[in-house]
């Protein structure tokens, strides 16, 4: 009887560790292939011709059309800078500067990838069409309610993600600027 209990324990531990680690690796992935800058996460090798096994597994699971290393890199934030998951009922300020890039887009999406901006407006921010401070930094607002400066109205309720695509950037390329700062995501009101 004791042998059977120990065997059961072994199997439970093995399945929990095996599938738990695998789930972590292809979702969060910070310890195995993903890079995190503040609330933003990216998979730097997702656009590489030879991704590592963890990145390959992430590619298979996500089914997303990745940006090649020569094109740019995608960052995704699922939580604000305090680690609280993004909620469509709150107003967020995205505040700070972005790495050097030809241009970038910032699009709020549902977790399944659908855009959540007001249907008759732009789907997201484009760095070529926003107002900036004198030092080049940006202040963007994402909310259902009116906000100052650069404001994107979103719809619906529940969780959402912020997807930041940096095009033609030198980030993670090993050349050019090593400045890897990304804007903070600050929850202002709910």
């Amino acid at each position: 009887m004791r042998f059977l209990l120990n065997l059961l324990l072994l199997l439970v531990v093995a399945l929990a560790v095996g599938f738990g680690l695998s789930w972590y690796a292809v979702t969060d992935g910070r310890l195995v292939g993903a890079a995190q800058i503040g609330p933003w996460t990216a998979w730097p090798r997702a656009g590489s011709p030879d991704p590592d096994p963890y990145t390959r597994a992430y590619l298979a699971r996500s089914g997303a059309l990745q940006l090649g290393q020569g094109e740019g890199i995608r960052f995704v934030a699922t939580a604000d800078s305090d680690g609280v998951p993004l909620d469509r009922n709150c107003r967020y300020r995205i505040d700070g500067s972005t790495p050097t890039a030809t241009f970038w887009t910032l699009v709020p999406t549902a977790p399944d990838g659908a855009t959540i901006a007001r249907p008759d407006g732009p789907p997201g921010f484009n760095s070529r069409r926003i107002a900036r401070a004198n030092d080049g930094s940006v202040q963007l607002y994402v909310s259902k309610t009116l906000a100052p400066l650069n404001w994107l109205e979103i719809t619906g309720s529940g969780a959402f993600w912020l997807v930041l695509d940096l095009y033609d950037t030198t980030l993670f390329s090993g050349v050019g600027s090593s400045d890897a700062s990304l804007p903070s995501i600050i929850r202002e009101a709910c």
Binding site: V17, P49, Y54, L59, G63, G70, V107, D165
Partner: protein
């Protein structure tokens, strides 16, 4: 107690083995890869412009709604392929994917290409013939070598303004995706 701890340690080791097997097998078992999705829309030797991402609509490829996309599927088993044409004076990029969604090659028009896209795609055997000068290609052709024969070339174009999107997408549709004349 010691025996129970040993069983737990054994479970930990077995769990790590399961983890490695899952990670290594997942790419082969996935049913919704980029290749599967692109194969559903792409036709061999034809440029297909992807529909714009509709507000609130499904977006399984996680496309950037600010960009216009075109896909050219090439079958290199019958010979090298090419994607050629002229694109607007705006940001655009081109990338080559295999069926697993791995980006085999990518570049942007900021790399000195200008407005003219002239991309030749070759598999390893064809590249060898090219090196041996048994295949003639035009000077200036951007040569990309791939590991597999079923290839998707994706062009991403940023409309300078939202109002120009349809015109830019139409220009994407005029790209030529075809077997390379050698």
């Amino acid at each position: 107690m010691v025996r129970t701890l040993l069983y737990m340690f054994g479970g930990l080791l077995l769990g790590l083995a399961i983890h490695l097997v899952v990670i290594l097998l997942l790419p082969g078992l996935a049913s919704n890869t980029v290749g599967v999705q692109l194969a559903a829309v792409g036709q061999v030797n034809k440029v297909v412009t992807l529909d714009p991402v509709a507000p609130g609509g499904p977006n399984p490829l996680r496309l950037d709604p600010e960009l216009a996309y075109a896909v050219c599927r090439l079958d290199l088993s019958k010979g090298p392929g090419e994607l050629t044409g002229t694109l607007p004076l705006s940001y655009w990029s081109v990338s080559v994917y295999d069926r697993a969604g791995t980006v085999l090659y990518s570049t942007t028009n900021r790399d000195g290409i200008g407005q003219t896209l002239d991309l030749g795609v070759f598999d390893a055997a064809q590249t060898r013939l090219l090196a041996e000068q048994k295949i003639d290609v035009d000077a200036g052709l951007l040569i990309v070598e791939t590991r597999t024969d079923d290839i998707f070339v994706v062009v991403k174009l940023e409309p300078s303004q939202p109002a120009t999107r349809d015109r830019y997408a139409a220009q994407l549709g005029r790209l030529a995706c075809r077997p390379l004349k050698t």
